[in-house]
Symmetry: C2
Subunit: 214 residues, 2 copies
Amino acid sequence: MRNRFHEDLETVAGQVGELFGLVERAIARSSRALLDADRELAEAVISEDLRIDLLCRQIEAEAIEIQMRQQPVARDLRLLLGVHRIVADLERSGDLAKNIAKQARRRHPSAVVPSTCRETVASMAQTAQSLWRHAHQVFDEEDVETARGLDAEDDQMDSLHRSLLLAVIEGAGASEVETAIDLTLIGRFYERIADHAVAIAHQVVYISTGEVVG
Amino acid sequence: MRNRFHEDLETVAGQVGELFGLVERAIARSSRALLDADRELAEAVISEDLRIDLLCRQIEAEAIEIQMRQQPVARDLRLLLGVHRIVADLERSGDLAKNIAKQARRRHPSAVVPSTCRETVASMAQTAQSLWRHAHQVFDEEDVETARGLDAEDDQMDSLHRSLLLAVIEGAGASEVETAIDLTLIGRFYERIADHAVAIAHQVVYISTGEVVG
């Protein structure tokens, strides 16, 4: 019984790993679509979000089934509950990547990001990708130490976000109000993507230690 | 055993009801603080968010304890899992109300919302409050019919959100880029608050019927 249970858990963990891969790819590709004004890539991110959503539903249904069949306690129960929260963060981050791709598509063939803000937005995209790589590692290896380091990386994102809004206010290339709005939203999307990665790291610490952080 | 279980569930449901009350108050008061440039009220919303977060932690801990002790199945398990998701939506909406209050505080004593956008922002605030009143009712009375009606109200919010961004683009009172940024974020906060209310309604439908919607 216990063996079957742990096999089931590993299957679910494997699917969550696959989901991490899809979301990381969506973040990387939407960022590329945004910075290179690549409409085709933007369309690909938008249509592939359905695949992310379907995998989320599948993982949730399996986690519930395992729970009904096995009635886990303590750490195993924390893991199954944690999977639901982590899947919600993954799904929402997929949606945010889709939002970024939609911004790239909406202004095509014009670039959304003026040249003066390009470096900051590119840094935000890199920081988001690094945070998600780390969150994935934290989940895969139950790496509590790395989990605790994610907050510092998130501080970096918040500082980039402030720089971006400041650049928009100073009118660095943002002559149009419409550009200001787009950049404000894009900045917010990246900031939230980072927050979700941090939330996952905190969730893994909780699963692993029972300690509530963040 | 079953009786004790249902008593425990009712206690948790009562606490979630209390949490709804706190979040609804935060949304109403932050909106008032924003529209009336009321700094004291903004401070109250910001400091009371801690109370919301503490109650969230308490409810989550109790839901896990009940689950460990009682090993519920079927609808009861869906309810306990649903509580976690609903609490997450409530907590996040409290944060968004805090964000709105921070916007009110940041520009004090100046008004954040120019007179030309005032009506639209006031309508967004009213729609958010109505959506949350309905989400609360859906939860309290397991009112699946009202739950299905929330999407239409959310469409209203999306349409108000579009009007607001359009007014900002047309420069209706938004002479400064900084005002454009503030209004863009405020619009986004209300839109997300509405989405969380809808997510709760969908969750109640799932608890009640096992049917996944949205």
